[in-house]
């Protein structure tokens, strides 16, 4: 059932390509139906999993036996969380792109291709297959931004594509090296993730391969200082693009860090643990600090993504069950919240006001003109701050708990990051929606702003609902994540309990 998420998405792409040229309405409807079908498949498949603690095989056929690659899709608890996130992000992204008029069918075709690739990454348990889906997502991303984006779209798109490409090539080097060494050690070639996880790579080898692969994935996850593509790319992207980019695609990187880099090279992680934590915390504080001084609304959110991903990476660096659980939950939570924030900035505000500069927005009294947008941003903003009751709090709670026992000083710095996070959200809230600046007598916007449309409202409600539900009942997701991490035979066992056989 879960594999259908991938197939449905790509079928949607085909259907869209077959549509005649100027059929925007049909394109939207097909895209939405496809996304909903994919999301439904994700939910049903996730609920059907009887034992999230184990890896449940969905399909496994040999693909290239000569090198040991197989078409191997499977899911465990962590995959389920991320697949559900993708489903939600896909549907809401389409809802927020309902107003795209230019070359609509191509937009949605690229969009669904990206979604399909993302589903594929989260469900692959063969390293080559995972890599194939991972690289596959780069091309739709490029075109989505370059064609339908806004500020410096071509530059932003190229930068993002090149960074992603370089990152994935770093991973490729590491993978090839690991494959060769594994083959030499075990006598047969394999690209199966679980089998590779059992191989004990030599420590000297892990010492350089791990950072290579981790940084390769980390680039996409916004690891400081390789994060510079993110703010530019997010700002350049169209709303749905930013929602997907910050919401889901950055999680691909973090997922890759966890599922591939850390699982394959557990001793390597330990060697570089403090450095990763340090970079993560710098990312948290740097991202938040820079967000605080931005003049462009969208840049604030772009940098905030870097900051929040820092929490994910910090959680990964803790190498204990609760920190990793927090990291995965933060992946989910930030995916939803970033989607909300970008939806407000991009779709609700920018598409109507055509400006994202705080100096201009201040004079518009958006809190009164677009109350729905204001309230949505308030809720999304406090969720982003990590206010209890929303999903971000539980995630950050676990990350901090995990980090306390390993890096106490770093944890305190992360706390500073949280406070700065509060500050920049408040600033954005004030300047964009509830500012006290005087309204100039003749404003550039003499025509009233169009009200918030129904697709936008539905999308916002879905996302807000998701973050609230998980904030109040985190057990729903933690019942998937924790058995996965705590099972003694899982692929994370060596990672969490240290020592190689």
């Amino acid at each position: 059932m879960l594999a259908w998420t991938i197939y449905i998405s790509f079928t949607g792409v085909l259907l869209l390509m077959l549509l005649p040229r100027e059929s925007a309405r049909a394109a939207r409807i097909i895209a939405l139906l496809t996304a909903i079908a994919g999301c439904a498949a994700a939910f049903v498949g996730a609920v059907q999993q009887s034992n999230p603690g184990e890896v449940t095989t969905i399909v496994r056929v040999p693909w290239i036996p000569a090198i040991g690659a197989s078409y191997y899709l499977a899911a465990d608890g962590i995959s389920l969380v991320l697949v559900v996130l993708t489903g939600l992000a896909a549907v809401t992204g389409i809802l927020f792109s309902w107003n795209i008029e230019k070359r609509t069918k191509e937009f949605f075709a690229f969009y669904l291709a990206l979604i399909g690739g993302v589903y594929g990454v989260f469900l692959s348990f063969d390293v080559l297959l995972l890599f194939v889906f991972y690289e596959l997502t780069i091309i739709p991303k490029y075109f989505l931004i370059a064609r339908w984006g806004s500020t410096r779209k071509e530059y932003g798109a190229m930068k993002l594509a090149l960074y992603s490409f370089v990152g994935s090539h770093l991973v490729l080097i590491g993978l090839i090296a690991a494959w060769v060494v594994a083959r030499a050690q075990t006598g047969h070639a394999t690209l199966d993730l679980q089998e590779l996880a059992k191989v004990s790579f030599p420590l000297g080898f892990q010492h350089w391969v791990f950072p290579l692969v981790f940084i390769g994935f980390g680039i996409l996850a916004g690891l400081w200082p390789f994060h510079t593509w993110a703010p530019t790319g997010h700002v350049a992207a169209p709303t749905a693009g930013s929602m997907l980019l910050a919401g889901v695609v950055m999680k691909l990187g973090a997922y890759g860090c966890l599922r591939v880099a850390m699982v394959l090279f557990p001793e390597g992680v330990r060697m570089w643990q403090s450095e990763i934590a340090l970079l993560a915390v710098i990312g948290i504080i740097y991202g938040a600090g820079v967000a605080l001084v931005q003049k462009d609304f969208k840049f604030v959110i772009g940098y905030s993504s870097v900051s929040h991903m820092g929490f994910v990476l910090l959680g990964l660096a803790t190498l204990n069950s609760i920190g990793l659980s927090g990291a995965v939950l933060q992946m989910f939570s930030h995916g939803i919240i970033a989607g909300l924030l970008f939806a407000v900035v991009g779709r609700m505000v920018y598409d109507r006001t055509h400006t994202r500069d705080f100096n201009d927005l201040q004079t518009m009294q958006l809190g009164k003109l677009l109350p729905f947008a204001g309230v949505t941003f308030v809720l999304a903003g406090v969720a982003s701050m990590g206010l209890p009751g929303f999903s971000g709090f539980v995630a950050e709670l676990q990350v901090l708990m995990g980090a306390w026992s390993v890096f106490p000083k770093t944890t305190i710095m992360a706390g500073v990051g949280i406070v700065v996070g509060v500050a920049y959200i408040l600033r954005a809230l004030q300047q964009a929606f509830y500012s006290d600046a005087a309204v100039p007598a003749k404003s550039g916007h003499d025509h009233p702003l169009e009200p918030i449309s129904m697709p936008e409202r539905i999308g916002a409600v879905i996302l807000l609902g998701a973050t609230l539900v998980i904030g109040l009942f985190p057990g729903l997701l933690m019942n998937w994540i924790q058995p996965c991490l705590n099972s003694p035979v899982s692929m994370f066992a060596r990672l969490l309990h240290g020592g190689s056989q």
């Binding site: 209890p388 901090l400 706390g415 949280i418 408040l426 057990g475 933690m478």
Partner: protein, 513 residues
């Protein structure tokens, strides 16, 4: 013990009320206000029912509700009230309807305003009844949002910076608090206040913290984090700088809420959380803490004296009154078992604190209510020098506000006196020098309050206000309950003490090893 989840229902009533009201249109102001008042009165009725059902003789927790929430993280849905909790709940239930009534004239987006006020109440109920860190913290933080917006959207000219400062200060404290509690959870595996208090009493807590972290002074650091969280809320000098701006810029009915109940959150935190869980550390830091309390008392009083804006004077006065609570609190902890005193005396100090919390909540809200009434008549002016000789024109008002002012001053016979008396009575044997220094605060308070009376009510009549209308009937009915309570509690404090006494004794027992 009933099996009905009274406390949850109590918290849900204003929550649901807010949701209903916010769905009303902008035009339906009267409906919004009416509904808000109704819901808050229902809350009051509920609180009074709880009081009735409360067994005052036992100091234990009552109306307990306990369910597993997220087992793996040790998070439980754990509610309960003892005397302290009930006291705070009742205070909230009294102050909120008064505040809603006082905001009857607010027209701009009345539905949102009232909804926010009700949500604030829900948050407060939640904070005062929660006993597991997770959902206590949830409500603690949740209170901030309605407060922020109430200040930001309906406040005075400098409301933006005031609201922001308020929010950020409190958040900094909250983050420190969060980090501390995470450390505690890591070391002890528990988020449960009662459990942690028991661990602290038996001395196990320090050991566990030390074992988990390997730092010798980790206990102190964790204590600082938690202390910061509460110190910002009370506030303690020097973490108080957010308060004057916030109180002044907020609309007066909102200030009633801020000073009446929200400031008590800080003291409640000290009593419920900091004191039971960190008695060792408090004893260690006793002298600096007492100095902080003294500074709070004296400096705020002096600052109040220097102000010319009525609201600012009362804002600083607020800080001052809560300083007494802290003084008593710190003094009490300092009393090691070495000091040979009957428990009743220590309990006396604690009773004083509780009573002072309640009384100040009442009195301060009443005072700000009066200020809002003056503002209404003066078109927003509220400087000391704007008025003069008002008692000639509005004698009833002068009389009633005078009662409130004298209560704040601590005149015997009114409620303000009893609390302060008990506090000093309790502190003096324990830390005499501190008590002595704090009387300066009493003195200065008397001076600035009398000055206020003199400037506003006595003296030559300011011709501008010669036609100022006196209190209308509805306004008299509004302030009457508060004034009555001031007298009642001044003469018969047992009214409230009966509820809290057993709890106070039990808390004192907590601290003796």
């Amino acid at each position: 013990m009933n099996s009905m989840p009274w406390l949850t229902i109590l918290t849900l009533v204003p929550l649901i009320g807010g949701i209903i009201i916010v769905g009303l249109g902008v035009e339906q102001r009267r409906l919004a206000r009416g509904l808000a008042l109704t819901f808050s009165l229902v809350g009051l009725a509920g609180a009074l029912c709880l009081w009735k059902l409360f067994d005052a003789a036992s100091g234990d927790l009552q109306f307990v509700e306990r369910h597993e929430w997220v087992k793996s993280l040790g998070i439980q849905y754990f509610l309960g009230v003892d005397g302290l909790g009930l006291l705070m709940v009742i205070l909230t239930a009294i102050v909120v309807p008064l505040s809603i009534f006082a905001s009857w004239r607010i027209d701009d987006r009345a539905h949102i305003y009232n909804a926010l006020a009700l949500w604030l109440q829900a948050g407060l109920f939640g904070t005062f009844t929660a006993l597991n860190f997770f959902h206590w913290f949830l409500f603690w933080e949740l209170v901030l949002i309605p407060a922020f917006f109430l200040i930001k959207l309906w406040g005075g000219p400098k409301r933006g910076p005031a609201a922001t400062q308020f929010f950020i200060y409190t958040m900094v404290g909250s983050v420190a608090l969060l980090l501390s509690f995470l450390a505690i959870r890591l070391a002890t595996g528990s988020f449960d206040f009662i459990e942690l208090a028991a661990m602290a009493k038996s001395g196990v807590l320090a050991g566990k913290l030390g074992a988990a972290f390997g730092w010798k002074n980790i206990g102190l650091i964790v204590f600082f984090g938690a202390f910061l969280g509460f110190a910002v809320k009370v506030p303690v000098v020097p973490f108080h700088t957010w308060l004057p701006a916030a109180y002044t810029e907020a609309p007066s009915p909102v200030t009633m809420l801020l000073t009446g109940v929200m400031s008590k959150m800080g003291v409640y935190g000290f009593l419920r959380i900091l004191l039971p869980i960190f008695p060792e550390q408090m004893r260690l830091m006793l002298t600096p803490l007492i100095w902080l309390a003294i500074l709070t008392i004296v400096l705020s009083a002096c600052a109040a004296f220097a102000q010319r804006d009525l609201k600012r004077i009362l804002a600083y006065s607020s800080i001052n009154h809560l300083g007494y609570c802290l003084l008593a609190l710190f003094a009490m902890t300092g009393a090691a078992s070495g000091v040979n005193l009957p428990e009743l005396q220590k309990a006396a100090a604690l009773n004083g604190v509780l009573l002072q919390m309640f009384n100040h909540g009442l009195t301060a809200s009443a005072l700000f209510l009066f200020v809002s009434l003056i503002e209404k008549r003066s078109g927003g002016l509220r400087g000391l020098d704007d008025f003069g000789g008002l008692r000639k024109v509005i004698p009833v008002f002068t009389g009633l506000m005078g009662i409130a002012l004298f209560s704040s001053l601590g005149l015997p016979g009114l409620n303000g006196f009893v609390g302060e008396f008990l506090i000093f009575k309790g502190v003096f044997p324990l830390v005499p020098w501190a008590a002595a220094l704090s009387t300066i605060g009493l003195l200065v308070t008397a001076i600035f309050l009398l000055t206020l009376i003199q400037h506003v009510f006595s003296g030559p009549l300011n011709a501008r206000w010669s036609k100022m209308p006196d209190l209308t009937l509805s306004e008299r009915l509004l302030v009457l309950p508060a004034i009555t309570l001031m007298f009642v509690l001044g003469i018969w404090p047992q009214f409230v003490l009966g509820m809290v006494d057993a709890t106070a004794v039990k808390m004192v027992q907590q601290l003796n090893f």
